[in-house]
C-alpha cells in the first residue's frame, strides 16, 4: 500500500512538473508571437531587425523548454509519448517542421551567401511564429476533447483515422484553443517588445496592436473555457481503471480543486493586468504580469486535465484506451529517480534568471543594431 501511495504521489508530482513546463513553454512562446508579426508590425527595416534580435536572443529558451517538455513527458508518461507521437503523427511532424526551420532562421537570415535570401528565412520565422503556437494549442486541446485511438493489450497504439492527428483541426474547440494560444503568444510578444526595445516609434506600434490581439485572444479563450466547463469530461476511476463520460467534469474539477481554480483565476487576472498596465499606464513591465499569468493559467488547465480522476489523453474511439496519469506513467523507481533530478530545477531557474538579467540589463538600441556585434 505504501508503494502504491508513493507511486500515486509521484505520478501527481510529475504531472505537476510537466504542467509547469507547459506553462513556461506557452509563456516563452512570446518569441513565436513576435515572429508572427515580423511582416506586419515593423514600420521599417530597422524595426524588423530590432524585433528579430529581441526574439532571437530568447528563441533557444523556448526551443529547449519544448525539448525538455517532450523529454519529461517521455520519461514520466511514456504511454502518452508513444500513443500521441506515434498516432497523431502529422500534427507532431508539422510542429517539429516549424521549429526546425526556426532554429536556423535567426542565425542564417542576415549572413551573406545564405543562398535563399533574407526574406526566405524571415518567412521561416513567420511560419514557425504562426503555426507553432497554433498547432501546439490545437494538440493540447485534444487533452480535453479526445482523439480516436485504440491501445492493444501490449499497450501499443493503433490510430483509428487515416489522418493521423490532422483530424484534430476539424474540431472547433481544438481550433479555439489553438487560436487562443496564438493570440496570447502575440500579446506576450508585443509586451516583450515594449519591455526590451528602446525605440519609441516601434513600441508605439506594438502598443497600438495590443487591443486587437487581446480581443481576439479573449474571444477564443472564453469560447474554449466556457465550452470546456459545459462539456462532458472523461472521468477515470482509479480503483477500477474504468473511464466514463461525466457531465460538467471539468467544471467539477475546478469546484472540487479550489486551489486550482484560484491559480487559474490568478493567471487570467495576471494576463489581463499585464495588458492593462501596458495599455493604460504605458508601463513596460506588462510582460512579467502577463507572463506569470500565462504560466499559472496553462498550469492550472493541465492540472484540470490530469487530476481529480480525469483522463488527460482520452480516446473517443475506445474510452477504455484513454490515458490517465496512473495507467500511462513510468514505474515507481524511474519516477523516483527522476524526482531527485528534478530537485535541480530551482538551481537551473536561478541561473537562467541571472543570465537573462545580464543580457537584458541594456535595452536593444538602434546603435547596437548598427554595430558589428552578433546581430541577426
Amino acid at each position: 500500500m505504501t508503494t502504491m501511495i508513493s507511486h500515486l504521489f509521484l505520478q501527481h508530482y510529475w504531472w505537476i512538473i510537466v504542467s509547469l513546463l507547459a506553462g513556461f513553454l506557452v509563456f516563452l512562446m512570446f518569441v513565436q508571437g513576435g515572429q508572427s508579426m515580423i511582416f506586419s508590425l515593423p514600420g521599417n527595416n530597422l524595426h524588423k531587425t530590432m524585433i528579430v534580435n529581441a526574439m532571437g536572443r530568447k528563441w533557444e529558451f523556448t526551443f529547449t523548454t519544448l525539448v525538455t517538455f517532450g523529454g519529461a513527458f517521455f520519461a514520466s508518461f511514456p504511454l502518452f509519448y508513444s500513443t500521441s507521437f506515434g498516432g497523431a503523427y502529422w500534427v507532431w511532424i508539422a510542429i517539429l517542421f516549424s521549429f526546425t526551420i526556426q532554429a536556423i532562421a535567426y542565425e542564417f537570415r542576415s549572413k551573406p551567401n545564405n543562398v535563399f535570401g533574407k526574406n526566405t528565412f524571415d518567412l521561416f520565422l513567420f511560419v514557425n511564429g504562426s503555426l507553432g503556437p497554433f498547432l501546439l494549442g490545437t494538440a493540447v486541446a485534444t487533452f480535453f476533447t479526445g482523439s480516436r485511438f485504440n491501445i492493444s493489450i501490449m499497450n501499443q497504439v493503433q490510430w483509428q483515422t487515416p489522418w493521423y492527428g490532422l483530424e484534430a483541426l476539424l474540431s472547433i474547440r481544438n481550433l479555439a484553443l489553438g487560436f487562443a494560444v496564438l493570440f496570447l503568444a502575440r500579446v506576450n510578444g508585443l509586451l516583450y517588445i515594449i519591455n526590451t526595445i528602446d525605440n519609441e516609434e516601434l513600441t508605439k506600434r506594438a502598443g497600438s496592436r495590443m487591443i486587437l490581439n487581446t480581443i481576439l485572444f479573449l474571444i477564443f479563450f472564453l469560447f474554449f473555457t466556457v465550452s470546456l466547463l459545459l462539456s462532458k469530461g472523461f472521468a477515470a476511476d482509479h480503483a477500477t481503471g474504468i473511464i466514463t463520460l461525466e457531465k460538467f467534469k471539468y467544471l467539477h474539477n475546478f469546484i472540487q480543486m479550489p486551489v486550482v481554480l484560484i491559480i487559474f483565476l490568478a493567471g487570467v487576472v495576471g494576463v489581463l493586468f499585464g495588458i492593462g498596465i501596458s495599455v493604460i499606464k504605458k508601463s513596460v513591465n506588462g510582460i512579467w504580469y502577463s507572463g506569470a499569468g500565462t504560466v499559472l493559467a496553462v498550469f492550472s488547465l493541465l492540472l484540470v486535465a490530469g487530476f481529480n480522476g480525469t483522463s488527460f489523453y482520452p480516446s473517443v474511439y475506445n474510452l477504455q484506451s484513454s490515458l490517465t496519469i496512473w495507467n500511462s506513467s513510468s514505474s515507481l523507481f524511474t519516477l523516483k529517480t527522476m524526482m531527485y533530478v528534478s530537485f535541480l530545477i530551482p538551481f537551473i531557474m536561478a541561473y537562467i534568471w541571472y543570465a537573462w538579467k545580464s543580457i537584458n540589463n541594456k535595452k536593444i538600441t538602434e546603435e547596437e543594431m548598427k554595430s558589428d556585434e552578433h546581430i541577426y
Binding site: K58, F61, F63, T64, L66, V67, T68, G70, G71, A72, F74, A75, S76, P78, Y81, S82, T83, F85, G86, Y89, W92, L96, F97, F99, T100, I101, Q102, A103, I104, F108, K111, P112, N113, N114, V115, I153, M154, N155, Q156, V157, Q158, W159, Y164, S330, S331, F333, T334, M338, V341, S342, I345, I348, I352, A355, W356, S358, I359, D372, E373, H374
Partner: protein, 518 residues
C-alpha cells in the same frame, strides 16, 4: 506483437531515422569539440589580456554559431522521432530510455542554451570573467548532453539494469547506476567525445591552413594551429585508445557485430587482425545469405585474439558460432535462443490474453516468473528471438559493418599523423613553407566527418536486426502508421535538411573567406 508488419513501413522508418541521425551528426561533433577550443582560446585571452586572442576567439565563435543552429534544428526531430516513428519501442523501453532524454534536457540543454546566449551577445554586457565562465559552461553543457543520449544508445546495445514487467508489457528500470555506468556507455562516451574533439581540431587546422596558403591572417592561423594541433593530437590518441576499448567491449556484449566487423565467419584461436581487406560473395550460403570471402587481405597474425582475449591462443567467436551454435564453446544457436524467447513470449501472451480471467494468486505467480533471475537469464534475455524467422536473420550487413569499421580505424591513424606533423612543422617554424602539408591539412577537413559517420553506421547497422540487442527486433518497434505518411515525411525532411545544409555550407565558406571582422 504487431500482426502483418509492413516491411515498407519498417524500411522507410529506418531510412528516415538514419537520414535525420546522419544529418544531425554532421553538426554535433563540431559543436562538441569547437566549444572546448573556444573556451581554451578565450581562457588565453582572459589570462593574457591580448586583444589578438579575443579576435581569434570571436572568429571561431562566428563559425560555431552557424554550425550550432543547424545542429539544434536537426536534433529536435531526432528526439521526437523516437515517438513518431518508433512508438512501440518507446513504450517497450520508455521507462528506461525516457529518463536519460529528460535528464539531458533538464541538466544539459538549459545549461547550453542559457549560456550560449551570454557567449554570443554578452561581450559588451557582462564581465570578462562571467563571459569566460559562460563559454566553458556551453562546452560542458554540450558534453553533458552527449553523456545522456549516449547512455540511452548504449542501453540499446547492451540492455542492463532493468526488469520486464508483464503487467505493463515493458522493461522497467531497477538500477540507474548500472544503466549510467554500463561499460558500453562509458566506452561510447569517451570515444564519441574524443572523436568529436579531433573533428573540431581538424576543422580549425584545415581552415587555418587555408589562411596560411593564402598568406592571410598569419597570426590567427598559427595560433589556431597550435591549439588545434595539441588538442587534436591528444584527442586522436584518446580516440584510438577508447576505440580499442570499445571494440573489446563489443566482442563481449555483441559478438555477432564484432564478428561482422572482422568478417569472421568461423570462430578460431590465434585469430589474426585484418588490417585491410576486400570482400566478395562466396559460393557458401547461410540460409539465404551468402557468406563473404576476402578477395585479398593483409592480416596481422594472432592480434585479434590478443586484443580481445589478451592471449594469442584466445578463441574469437565467428558468425557461424552464433547462427548454428558451438557446443564446445558454450554458444547457443539461434534456433535454441528462439525456443527460449518463444517460451518467454508465450507466457507473456498467455498472461495478457487471459489476464481478466486469472485469480490474483495466478497473476502473482506469473509476475514472479518474470522476476525470477534464472528466468531472466535463461529465457527472457532471448525474448526478441521469438520474432526471428530464419537463423541467418541475426547476421547484420557484413560488408557495411566491415568497411565502416576498417575505414574508420585507418582514418583514425591518419589523424594522429596529421596532427603530429602540424605540431612538428609549427615548432620548427616551417609550417608556412610546407605548402604540400597545408594542402593535405586543408583537404583532410571532410575525413573526420566521414570517420565519425562511419562510426555510427557501424554501431547501428552492426546491431541489426535488433533495435534493442536480443530483446526487440527493429520490425517490432515501428509505429503502426501508414508507410505513405513516412515516405512523405522522409522526402520532406530529405529536402529540408539538404536545403539547410547547402545554405549552411555556403554561409560558412563566405564567413571563412571574409575572415575575422572584429
Amino acid at each position: 506483437m504487431i500482426d502483418n508488419i509492413d516491411l515498407t513501413l519498417v524500411d522507410w522508418s529506418r531510412a528516415q531515422f538514419a537520414l535525420t541521425a546522419i544529418y544531425h551528426w554532421l553538426f554535433v561533433p563540431l559543436t562538441l569539440g569547437l566549444s572546448f577550443i573556444l573556451a581554451i582560446m578565450e581562457t588565453i585571452y582572459y589570462k593574457t589580456g591580448k586583444e589578438e586572442w579575443k579576435r581569434i576567439t570571436r572568429f571561431w565563435m562566428t563559425l560555431f554559431g552557424i554550425n550550432f543552429a543547424i545542429g539544434v534544428a536537426t536534433g529536435i526531430i531526432l528526439e521526437f522521432e523516437f515517438g513518431t516513428n518508433w512508438s512501440n519501442y518507446s513504450w517497450f523501453v520508455g521507462d528506461i530510455f525516457g529518463a536519460p532524454l529528460a535528464i539531458e534536457g533538464i541538466l544539459a540543454f538549459f545549461l547550453e542554451s542559457t549560456f550560449v546566449a551570454v557567449m554570443f551577445f554578452g561581450w559588451n554586457k557582462v564581465s570578462k570573467k562571467f563571459h569566460l565562465i559562460s563559454t566553458w559552461l556551453v562546452a560542458i553543457g554540450g558534453s553533458l548532453s552527449a553523456v545522456w543520449i549516449l547512455v540511452a544508445n548504449a542501453w540499446m546495445q547492451n540492455p542492463v539494469g532493468m526488469i520486464f514487467n508483464p503487467e505493463t508489457a515493458r522493461n522497467e528500470m531497477v538500477d540507474f547506476w548500472a544503466i549510467l555506468f554500463n561499460q558500453v556507455a562509458v566506452d561510447k562516451f569517451l570515444h564519441t567525445i574524443s572523436s568529436s574533439f579531433l573533428l573540431a581540431s581538424m576543422f580549425v587546422l584545415s581552415i587555418s591552413s587555408w589562411f596560411l596558403i593564402r598568406k592571410r591572417e598569419m597570426f590567427l592561423a598559427k595560433r589556431s594551429i597550435l591549439i588545434a594541433g595539441v588538442f587534436g593530437l591528444l584527442s586522436s590518441l584518446m580516440a584510438a585508445y577508447t576505440g580499442d576499448e570499445s571494440a573489446r567491449t563489443i566482442s563481449e556484449v555483441q559478438p555477432v557485430k564484432f564478428a561482422a566487423m572482422e568478417a569472421l565467419y568461423d570462430g578460431k584461436s590465434n585469430a589474426g587482425l585484418v588490417a585491410i581487406g576486400l570482400l566478395k560473395d562466396s559460393e557458401k550460403m547461410i540460409g539465404e545469405k551468402s557468406v563473404k570471402d576476402f578477395i585479398f587481405k593483409i592480416e596481422i597474425p594472432d592480434l585479434l585474439s590478443v586484443l580481445t582475449a589478451g592471449d594469442k591462443d584466445g578463441y574469437v567467436q565467428g558468425i557461424n558460432d552464433h547462427v548454428s551454435g558451438n557446443e564446445n564453446k558454450g554458444i547457443m544457436s539461434v534456433s535454441d535462443k528462439k525456443l527460449r524467447g518463444q517460451y518467454a513470449s508465450d507466457i507473456l501472451l498467455d498472461f495478457k490474453n487471459g489476464k481478466m480471467n486469472y485469480s490474483s494468486e495466478q497473476l502473482d505467480s506469473i509476475n514472479s516468473i518474470f522476476r525470477d533471475k534464472n528466468f531472466q537469464k535463461d529465457y527472457f534475455r532471448y525474448f526478441g528471438y521469438s520474432s526471428i524467422n530464419n537463423p541467418e536473420d541475426v547476421i547484420p550487413n557484413v560488408p557495411i559493418t566491415f568497411y565502416s569499421f576498417h575505414l574508420m580505424v585507418m582514418l583514425g591513424f591518419l589523424f594522429i599523423l596529421i596532427f603530429a606533423m602540424a605540431l612538428y612543422f609549427l615548432f620548427k617554424g616551417k609550417i608556412s613553407e610546407n605548402k604540400w602539408f597545408l594542402w593535405i591539412a586543408l583537404l583532410s577537413m571532410p575525413l573526420p566527418y566521414i570517420a565519425s559517420e562511419l562510426g555510427w553506421i557501424l554501431t547501428e547497422v552492426g546491431r541489426q536486426p535488433w533495435i534493442i540487442q536480443d530483446l526487440m527486433p527493429v520490425s517490432k518497434a515501428v509505429s503502426n502508421i501508414s508507410s505513405g505518411s513516412v515516405i512523405t515525411t522522409f522526402i520532406l525532411f530529405a529536402v529540408l535538411f539538404t536545403v539547410l545544409l547547402i545554405s549552411e555550407v555556403s554561409i560558412m565558406v563566405r564567413q571563412i573567406k571574409t575572415g575575422p571582422k572584429h
